[in-house]
Symmetry: C2
Subunit: 170 residues, 2 copies
Amino acid sequence: MNIEGEGTMKETNVEKAIQDIYPDEHAWCFGCGRLNKEGHQLRTGWQGDKTVTSFTPDSKYSGGIPKFVYGGLIASLFDCHSSGSASLAMHRKNGHEIGDGVLPPRFVTESLNVEYLKPTPQNVPLTAIGRVEEIHPKRWKVKSEMYADDTLCARGEVELVVIPSEFESR
Amino acid sequence: MNIEGEGTMKETNVEKAIQDIYPDEHAWCFGCGRLNKEGHQLRTGWQGDKTVTSFTPDSKYSGGIPKFVYGGLIASLFDCHSSGSASLAMHRKNGHEIGDGVLPPRFVTESLNVEYLKPTPQNVPLTAIGRVEEIHPKRWKVKSEMYADDTLCARGEVELVVIPSEFESR
């Protein structure tokens, strides 16, 4: 998403992302679908026992304050990062890892909470770091912090449920 | 935002929107900046004593479930709708209305809560209806419901503060 010449900091490299193994028909999310070339193509992976999603938004995603990022993008980052994090964690709980050929469980968001602590500057990598908690076999919670470069700018708390089967076949 | 041929329902018409009178330098928000041609250009106005924002997202804003909208867009809708709603309400409290030549107060988001009640279908107008509450002279709360056509799909609760003066001059 980075425009050439913008951004001096490095994004956190995610080698294996859970979104890489979503089925093709579910890989079109504007936030994290790998096949949606117009979207953010967010990628979420493990970083120790935490999860990480990192990307640098294009300048068009400006907020109402010049040189800062719009709030909806930060919400979108927490949403897709949390969905990916829950998927990673449940996949591991089920005994699987990315690359073993088994499709991961996927989640839909029930509730999203974002606290905006500071305006988030443009042209630096935004990195969400999450902790996943199982609150019920089919309902998971992800608490995350989002940094712009090294500055904590927002906190997110997201509850997700395993995707209902009636949406799996579409 | 509507693609020709998509969408059969009508959006709620907002004749006078608060975003129409934001200063040019603050009119670039991807969610609601009237000058950001690549963004959603959300517009928020009065509907009786409630506020309304209505638009039909482009198909590229797909979610992880085909034929539905991604969660980040719904969060973005609530965020900008709430910011516009608080601005409308405080402007009115200050004795002003859109069109009298006075610039409105503007807000930044402190916290955003979204409850996703049902998957939100594509290709129908999404309409957020809000109630604004003053909880402090500089801190306002907006509670909203979002409908896809006539179906309630999400609820939002957003707290906002009057934009700090150091961000006004940029």
